[in-house]
Amino acid sequence: MERKGARRERILELLEEHGGLREGVAAAISAETGVPEADVYGVATFYTLVSRPGVGVRICQGLTCKLAGADARAAELQGHGVDHEWVSCLGRCDRAPVALDPELELIPWGARGAISPDDPELPMNLGGADDASYRALARARGIGAAQVIEQLRAAGLQGRGGAGFPAHIKWSAVRGEADPVRYVVVNADESEPGTFKDREILLRRPHLLIEGAAIAAWVVGASIVYVYIRGEFTDARRSLEAALEAAAPHLDGIEIRIVAGHGAYICGEETALLEAIEGRRGMPRLKPPYPTRSGLWGKPTLMNNVETLACVPSILLRGGDWFQSWGRDEPGSKLYCLSGHVARPGVYELPLGVTLDELVEAGGGYVGTPRAFSPGGAASGFLPISERSRPLDMGGLAAAGSMLGSAGVVVLNDTVDMAQAARWQAIFFQDESCGQCAPCRIGCSLQRRSLDRWIDDRDPATLQHVEEIHWEMEEGSICGLGMTASLPLVTAMRHFPEDFRSQR
């Protein structure tokens, strides 16, 4: 049990200062924070960036990087005697294959990804100059909190982090809570394979996010905003820090604090993220209660994705109806992350609900003969290319048994064995499951094993129970990771049965 007044939230930054978990470090941090030593050790072993100090080069083993020849790069490094380790998707799929040096800086192997050309009509317009005037914040103060929420409602803005929950409902829920202490938390943990849009916002238009977050804080009555930013995003963090300095004069009492992640995809899940900020193992909480009622340190908490908040300034400046009319069947514009077998991978801001063909056209066309795509991150599974005219929005993709998720669209051409593609995703989920609940912890291992066996032995019996395990993972898991982790395998088998048929 921790000492009264223990500084638990310092554990992870102290681990970083100590250079990671080595023998004796847990004891030292326990003395510094008042948290029991075993507890510190348990926290440290959860996060890959601190649990194994001394890692050399980190090479991304995400689907896109594997397609782009990560294995060859790894062999090259090996040939030069450079130590390397395979890690989960690094969120830079537009310049695959990707690796980080020991200081977590990008090794510049490929060119920077594309973005939509500068167009002032675009709500986020990543190609435009960042605007540090904070006019939208001033406008929010002018029209009042209720009217801001009304504009969000008119805009139809839905969460861009994956779940698509209407923003105005969360904002009014937190605003209506009785407890006077509330927090705003920005989810900048972006770790869903194939997704790299939040990173581009942070790099190119950080003031959009800061302004959106400040408006959120003002509306819900929070004085502190935490930005939880993925630990591997060192460049994006620097960009955000610089922008925060410039923003300071406008924020008027709203404090924005940056908390770095330490290597755990699951901390993108909202309640795991809260645990991480509090200095605990990033294991999702049971819901209810929801964070809007009991979030950070038990206080009402508004959590939004970077992109969700980055939409807010233009909604306030140009009106909710204007934003709403950007979309097709669903409201607004959307940042689509495009990677894989396409000519110009990158982040494209398009009306919500464009088709795959339209998106890929913006990205310079297909490379080779397209066969499959994953529309919204690993958790969305795979769809056959015959779905190329389906709207890439929540309703459209849900109807196809998939989801828009984080809009990380990966295109696969006919050179790809779908069992192999499913296997890379299965490895990701097995590595990133927090391990607290049995359906996910054991299920991820089982599905991964089935795929390994299939690829090695081509014995169809190994795939016999895939559906039943998937059913239980979906029904029994605590959080979205376990619920969706076998979708890549299940959908690959469903849509590409030829890749799972025995040749013998």
């Binding site: 049990m1 004796g24 030593e37 072993t45 959860f46 193992r281 990133e432 927090c434 391990g435 059913w471």
Partner: protein, 356 residues
């Protein structure tokens, strides 16, 4: 107090206190819901997923151990969906557990609840073992044995150690399929804050944590005998497990029944070796004039002690005597010692080893 909550579980309507969980409501209705990671003395974690039930109006199955009952709620603990969930979940647990010749979870120490659930609820598909890689360093402490292969990661041991004992010697470590129970830097329990109370063993549902001295024993052959611990004055109740006329293990009666509420300390749980030890004194001894100790009867021994003490009083006065009683004595016995000192011998020189 606000009004009680009415809730229907499998068609049985019951009333529970506001704030009660669905599991409590089910228990009140006389309906058993299988659990693994639940223990009344610690906060619910809801992670074993064994107790998921269907609640009308909730899209997802919910953990009854943590879900608050509310007025008018309708719960199904035995629907087709719940039964299928239990069977496939149990199949998955089997893929991550050491099994015996019959393909059932291996029995260890004081039984295995996972095994009981498998026998009672059945399983779904037969799944291959996942052979999870859990780094674990052997520990040489004399009392607590941990077998990661039998661990289902319910985290009860960690929560008990932290929330009930406030000792916090162990933790969940690593993540995903590598998750295990560990001490800081994987040291021996002897080099941690552990007090070897063995509470981790008591709460473990599968026997992954067992008493090292009782490893390999068959708990079905053990007869339980209730007694009071005589190591201190608290009066903890003990169940001595006796096989072949020897104490082979000591446990506490279940929580909520006795003063110790399911808890024991290292002495109560593990310090029983002396009972059958060769060096144990079983009759009084009197030292003769030649310096040798000889067995004697209690009347002889008491007479000899009384004569010696009275002799001192006569020669040097009552205050030359001092009486020190033991913290192993009960309050009543301590009272009698001071009464002996004051009333029988006439001195106030009395003390007790626990008084400082």
């Amino acid at each position: 107090m606000s009004q009680s909550v009415r809730i229907t579980v499998d068609g049985v309507e019951v009333q529970v206190e506001p704030g009660a969980t669905v599991l409590t409501a089910a228990t009140t209705a006389g309906i058993a819901v299988p659990t693994l990671c639940h223990e009344a003395r610690v906060d619910p974690m809801g992670s074993c997923r064994m107790c998921l039930v269907e609640i009308e109006g909730q899209r997802r199955l919910q953990p009854s151990c943590a879900f608050p009952a509310s007025d008018g709620m309708v719960v199904h603990t035995d629907s087709g969906r719940v039964r299928r969930h239990r069977r496939v979940l149990l199949s998955m647990y089997l893929a991550d557990h050491e099994l015996d010749e019959d393909g059932l979870p291996k029995e260890r120490g004081t039984g295995n609840r996972l095994r009981q659930h498998v026998l009672e609820h059945g399983t779904g598909p037969t799944l291959p073992p996942i052979a999870a890689d859990r780094s674990y360093r052997e520990d040489d402490n004399p009392y607590v044995h941990f077998d990661p292969e039998a661990c289902i990661l319910c985290n009860l041991c960690v929560r008990y150690c932290d929330e009930v004992e406030a000792v916090s010697a162990i933790t969940l470590a690593n993540r995903g399929s590598h998750t295990t129970i560990a001490t800081a830097d994987q040291r021996s329990l002897l080099d941690t804050s552990c007090e070897l109370c063995g509470g981790c063993i008591a709460v473990c549902p599968t026997g992954a944590m067992t008493e090292r001295p009782a490893l390999g024993l068959d708990w079905r052959r053990e007869e339980k005998i209730r007694t009071t611990c005589n190591f201190c004055g608290v009066g903890c109740q003990l169940d001595l497990h006796v096989a072949d006329d020897r104490i082979v293990r000591i446990t506490s009666p279940e929580p909520g029944r006795t003063v110790n509420d399911g808890n024991l300390c290292v002495k109560g749980r593990f310090a029983y070796e002396f009972v059958h030890h060769d060096d144990r004194l079983t009759t009084p001894l009197i030292r003769g004039g030649d310096g040798e100790l000889r067995p004697a009867s209690w009347p002889e021994a008491l007479a000899a002690a009384a004569a010696g003490l009275l002799g001192v009083k006569e020669r040097h006065g009552a205050d030359a005597l001092g009486f020190v009683s033991s913290s192993r004595c009960t309050g009543e016995e301590n009272y009698l010692v001071q009464k002996l000192a004051r009333a029988a011998f006439g001195t106030n020189n009395c003390h007790q080893c626990a008084a400082t």
